[in-house]
Symmetry: C2
Subunit: 227 residues, 2 copies
Amino acid sequence: MPELKIQHILTLSYLLSKGAKHNYVSITTSSLGKSIKKSQQAASKHLLELEQNQFIDRIMSGRNVSVKITPKGFSEMVKLSTTLQKSLNSFPSHVELKGTLVSGMGEGAYYMGLKGYTKQFKSKIGYVPFPGTLNVRLDKKIHQEAVKQFETLDGIKIKSFSDGKRTYGWVKCFPAKLNNSINCDMILLERTHHDNSVVELISKTCMRKTGKLKDGSKITIKIPISS
Amino acid sequence: MPELKIQHILTLSYLLSKGAKHNYVSITTSSLGKSIKKSQQAASKHLLELEQNQFIDRIMSGRNVSVKITPKGFSEMVKLSTTLQKSLNSFPSHVELKGTLVSGMGEGAYYMGLKGYTKQFKSKIGYVPFPGTLNVRLDKKIHQEAVKQFETLDGIKIKSFSDGKRTYGWVKCFPAKLNNSINCDMILLERTHHDNSVVELISKTCMRKTGKLKDGSKITIKIPISS
DNA sequence: ATTACTAACATCCGAGTAG
DNA sequence: TCTACTCGGATGTTAGTAA
């Protein structure tokens, strides 16, 4: 049984914090038990098992135990830590959505073409969108669900405005890549907050033309996540 | 039961490496089981438990499962990872030895006073040792054992030399602090490789005088560890 | 092929306790 | 006090299997 049991990691971690890397540290099994939130008996057993597997050196002196982590034990800890660290730091940092191009009702184009919006687009995302949004229906549940996380992300915020008669809600933009080639932005609208089965894309150019797309075309959208 | 069980960490770690932070990733329980070295059934149970505790979102679609890590699950992973990381990086980086001053037989002074050694001392540790080594008997087993690790450490190496008649072995020096005040070096000799109950210290000055020490005085030695 | 149930098995933990 | 044993109950894992 040359494997380090995961439940022993916390024990080793505690011992390490006590300085057991270089020195034999004197401890009681009950204090150790308290620290790792287990009983005195469990702590005692942990130490015995760790010693058996040569993860610690253990010296009995009178009534209490002195313990030092072996190079083997230490390297096992490092191994696990870096494994964790790696998976925490090197996950893919983008969301991938797949769906089908559908035709909208033209209302997207109407709203996005309003001066109150276009002025902000120009200054905040650097271009005035081609009049007409690309509607992509997300066919799979997993992609519909994945969109939800953008509700809590910030993106680039286009503020709401009023023309005196009515108010037009804010728009959040997320820079994205369509079919791995065309730069665009996915937009989330304040009004259509609840329906995640369709997402809207805007771009400087007409994506239907530059991407040779028509209704029913399969679409892949990649949206990098900054955080 | 709002606690993350440790054995689930590996499951989460695997999911994370698959990109489950931002996207729903589709997996089979048997492949997951293989990855975490458990059975298919165990993997299935892990996922169910993780879902129950809201560490993952889980979507069944037909025959397989898609999974995404929740912010809660992610932050729990970060918590554990940083705990580990901290204990790995911030342990005390010195060895502490305690013992009693004993009188040597003067042979230490004789050997260390040889030209072949003093010339190297001057250039490598910056001073010519006061003639006479300080012998410290380590009374406790834990300190005797702790000395052993220096055998595998490098320290500052004083090379062996020959005067034509015989060869004088190498000496390893480890910068140390005596009783938290006096700078000195602990020396390990090639010849007395086996006895760890006594360590020898050298210093620029007479430590018995500057430290007001006599035979029987209690001694504390701190030796920083570089690695 | 898949997920996940039940039941048997293995492991872990802690109360009691000896030395 | 202390460590560490036994043992019963809780928990985790797997084999078999249903759907």
